[in-house]
Amino acid sequence: MPMLEIKNLHVTVDGKQILNGLDLVVNKGEVHAIMGPNGSGKSTLAYVMAGKDGYQPTQGEIRLDGENLLDLQPDERAAKGLFLAFQYPLEIPGVATMTFLRTALNAQRKKRGLVELSTPEFLKTVRAAAAHLEIDTDMLRRGVNVGFSGGEKKRNEILQMALLEPRLAVLDETDSGLDIDALKIVSEGVNRLRSPDRSFVVITHYQRLLNHIVPDVVQVLSRGRIVKTGGKELALELEATGYAQYQDEAA
């Protein structure tokens, strides 16, 4: 059984059709890169997978390990092992990052029938994960993402992913806004988590990221559907030719 199977997915936002019959299969342990022009529906795909309100699936299904995600609340999807690294991580003043991480981790453990982590265990886990990503633990006392730079917010997303250990992670332009060093740190963070049991969907505009996180499959998304599937060399090809030919095909 594939880890992720999306069939004939149609999604409207504010009455506007954004995804039109999207199909995507991601097997266990695979890394898929999704590339495509601005406005083609990449973030829409990420949001509808995570269950954001207002992203209305009108046809089709999304299965994670065979289970239809569309019937589940966002928190239930997360507990099933889905993680979305946001293109624009939000700031939550007044909710300390530590409290947020701990609440999230324990909520997921609870749903999976595991005991909550004790404070020392939790702190140890966070400190180790933060150190890998070169995140100063002082920052974690602040409100979630409050006063974080663009790059720090992206790193914080990867920290959350490392703690929550999802089965399937969708990274929506996690590379945008990162400097060269941060790009390496974040990529290493992702690569550390790669395993035969974990899959990734990496949305990006830049081939550069794919030098660090080498994909098994590259998918081209245009006008709400996958229009081309290839190996990692497809990303290089796109770099040279752009999306013009695929936009015609999708039309």
């Binding site: 007044g94 947020f100 999230a104």
Partner: protein, 442 residues
């Protein structure tokens, strides 16, 4: 003509007038106090309970909200004294000096009066009114004139007991003084409590009032507070308890030169709450922070009304009021800042925010700035809105269930006001109460 006036009276007003007539001979106070009572009663009798045609009471019409008046509370029974042993438990971690009142009456045997810090005096208001006290002569009814407020007049007419607290010049009282007001029994009564607190020059003290009433009690509580020159005072009033009490609270505070005053109102209990604060800067260079948080559900109605008078210049005031409204509750905030002609270099900022957790809840907000000086910084801001759906989604996408996500956001919202409380133990106690209010929602 008389008949006309009478026929316009509500049942509650008639009952209160009768209660005053029969209680009058036994109410504490010398001639002067009796004269004050009489004048206050005549004022009440002419005006009636505050109602919506009086501008300041527009949103909280006591004539319609108080269907009847409960009988005046009597002396607390032995059983109620035994019951009140554990009153104020929620604040146990504060290590405060606990002073207990049952139905407004001071209960010395339940109060911690041992080893009073140097400079601290605590007395029953009943005894002070009955036997006289220099503080009464100096300050009673004079701290900030109430301009004929009907609720305060009714309190003056019927007041029975309360606290008289003094902190002498230069004294620091380390332990917070906790006044716990509790109800005696299951039979609702009317309570008219009256307190006077005088913190003299250069003194330091923290005063916490916890009002823990139940069922249909009707409470009219007045506090007059004098913050002396260069004094540093924290005052916190907790409107707790359960049931559908009516709680009318008035605080009049005068702030001296270069004093620091921090006030916090925390409202979770009561069917109808009116929390009115009249504060006046009487000396230059003082700082005051007036903050509050209200958490309302069911059909609760809470009205925070502030009148801040910058009578002199160079003072700074900060107001932050947060209201969380669930179900069909209603929150009112009225904030008036007056800057008198001589109050140059005034710096006053007021912020009020309402968070609606239900479509049936309502928040009313009326800020007013009356500025008569030209070299001032004054501003106010107000927001009313629901929880941010995008933030909620972000939290839920991390596996946090909806109610818990909402709880985190609500805690963050009220936390912003509660963080202003300097005393860590009290801050934690209030955050704990917010958490239990939220967990009761789930």
């Amino acid at each position: 003509m008389n008949a006309n006036v009478l026929s316009a009276k509500t049942e509650a007003e008639l009952t209160l007038a009768k209660a005053y007539a029969s209680a009058k001979p036994n109410l504490p106070g010398d001639r002067k106090i009796q004269a004050l009572r009489e004048a206050a009663f005549r004022h009440f009798d002419a005006q009636g309970l505050p109602h919506r045609r009086i501008e300041e009471w527009k949103y909280t019409d006591l004539r319609t909200l108080m269907h009847d008046a409960k009988p005046l509370a009597g002396a607390p029974s032995a059983a109620s004294r035994a019951q009140a042993k554990n009153a104020g438990q929620l604040l146990a971690a504060m290590d405060a000096r606990r002073i207990v009142f049952i139905d407004g009456a001071f209960v010395p045997e339940l109060s911690d009066l041992s080893g009073l810090e140097k400079g601290l005096t605590i007395r029953s208001m009943h005894d002070a009114l009955a036997g006289g006290d220099a503080l009464i002569t100096a300050h009673f009814g004079k701290v900030v004139p109430s301009d004929g407020d009907g609720a305060i007049a009714l309190n003056t007419a019927l007041m029975t007991d309360g606290a008289l607290v003094r902190v002498a010049a230069g004294s620091t009282v380390e332990r917070p003084v906790l006044l716990v007001f509790t109800a005696s029994g299951d039979k609702p009564a009317s309570v008219f409590s009256r307190s006077l607190v005088v913190i003299e020059q250069d003194a330091r003290a923290m005063l916490v009032e916890s009002h823990e009433y139940k069922n249909a009690y009707q409470v009219n509580a007045v506090l007059e507070l004098v913050v002396g020159n260069e004094a540093h005072v924290d005052h916190v009033k907790i409107f707790g308890g359960v049931g559908d009490a009516v709680h009318i609270s008035s605080m009049m505070a005068s702030i001296g030169t270069r004093a620091r005053f921090n006030d916090f109102s925390f409202i979770t209990g009561g069917a109808v709450v009116r929390n009115q604060i009249f504060m006046r800067f009487d000396g230059e260079g003082a700082l005051a922070g007036i903050r509050g948080a209200s958490l309302l559900k069911g059909k609760q109605h809470a009205d925070n009304t502030l009148v801040l008078d910058h009578k002199v210049g160079g003072c700074q005031s900060r107001e932050v009021f947060k209201t969380v409204l669930d179900d069909e509750s209603r929150g009112v905030f009225q904030g008036k800042i007056i800057v008198r002609p001589d109050a140059q270099k005034t710096d006053a900022k007021m912020m009020t925010q309402a968070l609606l957790l239900s479509e049936d809840a309502e928040a009313d907000n009326k800020p007013e700035l009356e500025i008569f000086a030209d070299d001032v910084q004054c501003g106010h801001g107000a927001t009313t809105g629901a929880l941010d759906e995008d933030l909620k989604f972000y939290l839920m996408a991390r596996g946090i269930p909806e109610k818990e996500a909402e709880a985190l956001l609500v805690q963050a919202f009220v936390g912003e006001a509660i963080e202003g409380i300097e005393h860590a133990g009290l801050r934690d106690a209030l955050l704990g109460q917010v958490a239990s209010w939220l967990s009761a929602r789930v």
